[in-house]
């Protein structure tokens, strides 16, 4: 056990601590970086934007994933196999590739614009890129499997005899869904939402490719600060903020998963 | 014919986990070739005790010796003991043959020897053609037999069994009890058997020990334990016991009880068991089959028997026996259970009949409460 622990300790915990420490020392000791974050407005705006986008993405994912999970939970045999493989293939296709695909679709001369102009829905091409719509759609697309899987796993474990009991007692299908099934699926919803929210916060590729300077998200900003502006102190500070938020969410997620009996499945 | 098998000596073996004592200092001797059972409720320490012999539970004190060898120094894989688990623990990725051959191959026996001994053992458990099958293809009873074969094939001097029949249904259990007993007769080993089912232990064992709360309460042959329990716990654990509370201290063979008797609230108890039964905390124990029921007028008080008045609460018939629950004393008293072979009486007595319960003084056991 000590070998993996040492490995993780040195190469995972260590760097994280190093980041946090650095945020307080680079370029000068003190809270300077954090002060700048709080008061300069730009950084704060990016953080708010990140939080907002993550929220929107999580919400949309939930809305879309829930019905899909519901249908999959009741599916059997070959239909289930096909559905599952589609979800799984989406999950494991590289984020870079998927974001590139959305770039292609949203391009000025891309698929979507071609469709819109040729069917006469719009007069000219719309500039989707860079833009909030493109980022949100892209992220929802990528996060969807991560929302579907925990919810699906939870739904599968719901005892159908409870629904039978409800209908025997006089509840019509809508009611037994609303009063029995839905509450029972909350652990899956929470686990999936926490997971997607956590991942959306730290997301890099899609916002970088599809969003522009006006829609910066934290991870993109950190990369800019580190690589292009060589402002490692600020990068560390932003990373630490992101880290703190993520850790809190992770702990919440663990709580939920434990109460759900560990039913949530992990994504990538 | 002298049986060969390991002789186990345990002295003051104890196990403590931080603050909890799982096993108080316990001593026990098991003779070679014996079939010895440990029984008791869950948490009584019987599995812990078994674990110390197997080597999974390192004792925090005491000595364990098998045939003179101190086991404390040896890890489980060097003790040459066989063990059968409740969930069989057959290796799912190996065939039945490979499972049974596993310990032989570990000991680097030649291919021919392995083949021969495995086949012989499979025949002994009456599964001679099952060698190529996988464990998942066998029924519960068959799996348990394979587990037995595997545990004994390398000739260990001691076989440990941890509630091996717990996962089986009643009929299967009875069938396998017989098989295990027959198996024991065929191999030369001592068996230490753990179960919570007292009937099972009583039918199979030469001797048994009852455990409670980390201690051995009493040990001896099944019959001895049944007829001479040292305390109320043992009495009620084995079979059914009618326990009647005693007021005060019994004196010269007579005990005062709360329940009205024909002898002005006194019961003659000449059978005192164990030290301390003549103290304050004692109780009277009468077995249901010792009691006779009389209807009709009150007879005289006999010198050698005890008599009590009561009313029949419930009467059932089960396979040749009448079982009565008789209310004695006030309604708050526990009813007395009586068991009578149906050949003795032609009609079962209905509810509400007023009866007298009679039983010999010698069947009145005076025992400790705890």
């Amino acid at each position: 056990m000590w070998l993996p622990a040492a490995f993780i300790g040195v190469f995972f915990v260590g760097p994280i601590i190093a980041v946090a420490v650095r945020s307080f020392f680079d370029p000068a000791p003190g809270f300077g970086n954090y002060a700048e974050v709080l008061f300069s407005g730009i950084y704060l705006q990016v953080i708010w934007n990140t939080l907002g986008t993550a929220l929107i993405v999580t919400f949309l994912c939930l809305l879309i994933a829930y019905p899909l999970a519901y249908v999959m939970a009741k599916a059997k045999g070959s239909m289930l196999a096909v559905m599952t493989s589609i979800v799984v293939v989406s999950l494991w296709t590289s984020v870079v590739i998927r974001s590139y695909a959305w770039m292609v679709i949203f391009q000025r001369r891309g698929v979507l614009n071609n469709l819109l102009t040729s069917t006469g829905l719009t007069d000219g091409a719309i500039n989707f890129l860079p833009g909030a719509i493109a980022v949100n759609v892209g992220m929802v697309h990528i996060m969807l499997p991560f929302m579907v899987l925990p919810i699906l796993s939870n739904m599968r474990s719901i005892d159908t005899s409870l629904l039978t009991a409800a209908s025997v007692m006089g509840a019509n299908p809508w009611l037994s869904f609303y009063k029995v099934f839905l509450p029972l699926s909350f652990p899956g919803i929470s686990a999936g939402s926490a997971l997607v929210f956590m991942m959306s916060l730290g997301f890099f590729v899609t916002p970088a490719l599809l969003g522009g300077p006006r829609h910066l998200m934290v991870a993109v900003l950190i990369e800019q600060q580190a690589n292009r502006m060589l402002n490692w102190g600020m990068a560390s500070a932003l990373a630490t903020v992101l880290l703190l938020i993520t850790v809190v969410l992770y702990l919440l997620y663990l709580r939920v998963v434990r109460y759900a009996g560990g039913g949530a499945q992990y994504g990538r | 014919m002298a049986k060969r098998g390991g002789k186990l000596v345990m002295e003051q073996v104890q196990k403590r986990y931080h603050k909890t004592v799982a096993l108080h200092p316990t001593s026990l001797d098991i003779e070679p070739g014996e079939f010895f059972s440990l029984i008791g409720p869950s948490g009584s320490g019987k599995t812990t005790l078994l674990g110390t012999v197997a080597g999974f539970v390192p004792p925090t004190g005491g000595r364990i010796e098998m045939d003179g060898v101190n086991l404390a120094m040896l890890p489980p894989y060097q003790r040459n003991i066989g063990m059968v688990f409740q969930n069989y623990a057959l290796f799912p990725h190996m065939s039945v043959f490979d499972n049974v051959a596993f310990p032989l191959r570990l000991r680097k026996l030649g291919v021919a020897a392995v083949e021969e001994r495995t086949r012989k053992m499979l025949a002994t458990v009456r599964l001679p053609d099952f060698g190529h099958r996988m464990p998942s293809q066998l029924s519960g009873g068959q799996q348990q037999r394979v587990a037995l074969a595997r545990a004994a094939v390398y000739g260990p001097r001691m076989l440990l069994m941890d509630e091996p029949l717990g996962a089986l249904d009643k009929n299967l259990r009875e069938e396998l009890q017989y098989e295990i007993k027959a198996f024991h007769r065929q191999i030369d080993a001592t068996v230490l058997y753990v179960t919570h089912d007292q009937e099972e232990a009583a039918t199979m064992s030469d001797r048994l020990a009852i455990m409670n709360a980390g201690r051995i309460v009493q040990h001896g042959t099944p019959r001895h334990l049944y007829e001479h329990p040292t305390n109320a716990f043992v009495a009620s654990f084995l079979g059914t016991a009618n326990l009647i509370a005693v007021i005060g201290k019994p004196e010269s063979g007579e005990a005062e009880v709360r329940v009205p008797t024909a002898n002005a609230g006194l019961l003659k108890a000449i059978n005192t068991i164990g030290q301390g039964a003549m103290s304050e905390a004692s109780v009277i124990c009468v077995r249901p089959e010792s009691i006779r029921i009389e209807t009709g007028e009150q007879a005289k008080v006999c010198a050698n028997s005890n008599r009590m008045a009561g009313k029949i609460l419930d009467a059932t018939y089960t396979a040749g026996t009448f079982r009565y629950q008789v209310q004695v004393g006030t309604e708050t008293e526990a009813p007395v259970a009586v068991r009578l072979p149906s050949v003795r009486q032609s009609d079962m007595l209905p509810r509400g009949t007023n009866v007298s319960l009679v039983w010999p003084a010698s069947a009145t056991l005076l025992i400790r409460k705890d």
């Binding site: 056990m1 070998l3 993996p4 622990a5 490995f7 190469f11 260590g14 190093a18 879309i64 019905p67 009741k74 599952t84 979800v87 293939v89 999950l91 494991w92 296709t93 590289s94 984020v95 870079v96 998927r98 590139y100 695909a101 959305w102 391009q107 698929v111 071609n114 969807l144 499997p145 899987l149 599968r156 299908p173 991942m199 916060l201 730290g202 997301f203 590729v205 490719l209 950190i222 690589n227 990068a235 990373a239 992101l242 880290l243 993520t246 850790v247 663990l254 499945q265 990538r268 | 080597g55 894989y77 003991i81 066989g82 063990m83 688990f85 969930n87 799912p92 596993f102 310990p103 000991r107």
Partner: protein, 278 residues
């Protein structure tokens, strides 16, 4: 109880069930389509994907095959992915065994820690590891990024092996010990055969995650050691030629192949595991 086959159910419930299923398929279509946009693009004769495509050509694949950069990136991705998978398998299995069978206190805490690298954004780890790798002089070398990818790969193996371990009770190892097998023998002959599929699946997942990983590769590799995702990313920022689409299609195919391998392994080990996770 299947609501849509119950005949006593009024029409509107049955209809809404059918609508739900239709909706589900639409969503699935949404999920799968974008990936498949890339493939036609990689075959199109011009630089933009139009609908219907203007012409077909394989010139982008040609340019991919001929480019030394792409070739080297592909080799790098392999050279990094395979050792990552191997290391992750070893360390992840060790950790999993220790947590499941080793009687460690606070199991859930250790387990959470072992899984954490998967949950935390890679960017944080990337900028944390950069100075460390700099200090060890491992920057732009294979070793640095292999280590980083292993950190992220261990959780995957940990989870799959855990799942495999939990399906077989610990009494199997106890039984092996009473039969005379020492700890090492008991592991090799009893535990290992049973968790082998789990280890393998975890390893494949670790490889796939390394093959696709961008963030850590971005920071820790250099021009000579860069992986496919890094090259794609750099190219995407400069010029968007469909050569990228060709590269992407190939990566997609590789991923598909890996997934097929995983599902074959899964069905062979027989258990009912949900989706791709071990």
């Amino acid at each position: 109880m299947d609501a849509d086959t119950a005949t006593w159910l009024p029409i509107r419930y049955r209809a809404s069930n059918k609508l739900l299923v239709l909706l589900a398929w639409l969503i699935l279509l949404f999920l799968i389509t974008p990936q498949f946009v890339i493939v036609p693009l990689s075959f199109s004769s011009e630089a933009y994907l139009s609908f219907p495509p203007a012409g077909w050509s394989t010139k982008w694949y040609g340019s991919f095959a001929n480019s030394p950069d792409w070739g080297r990136a592909a080799i790098n991705s392999l050279a990094i992915g395979l050792p990552t998978a191997l290391l992750s398998m070893i360390l992840g299995t060790m950790a999993s065994l220790a947590v499941s069978r080793g009687g460690i206190t606070r199991q859930s805490l250790v387990a959470a820690l072992m899984v954490a690298p998967m949950m935390l954004p890679h960017i944080i780890l990337a900028i944390g590891l950069y100075p460390i790798m700099l200090w060890f002089k491992l920057l732009t070398s294979y070793a640095g990024v292999i280590i980083a990818h292993t950190v992220v790969g261990i959780p995957l193996v940990f989870i799959t092996v855990n799942s495999a371990l939990s399906r077989h009770s610990g009494s199997l190892e106890l039984a092996a010990m009473t039969l005379g097998a020492g700890p090492w023998q008991s592991f090799w002959k009893v535990t290992f055969p049973l968790i082998r599929p789990g280890i393998l699946i975890g390893g494949i997942l670790a490889f796939a995650s390394s093959f696709d990983e961008l963030m850590l590769a971005l920071f820790l590799t250099g021009v000579g050691t860069q992986t496919l995702p890094r090259l794609i990313w750099l190219q995407m920022n400069d010029y968007l030629t469909p050569t990228i689409a060709a590269a992407a299609s190939l990566i997609f195919l590789v991923t598909l192949g890996l997934l097929v391998a995983v599902s074959i392994l899964q069905t062979r080990s027989g258990a009912e595991k949900a989706n791709a996770h071990g």
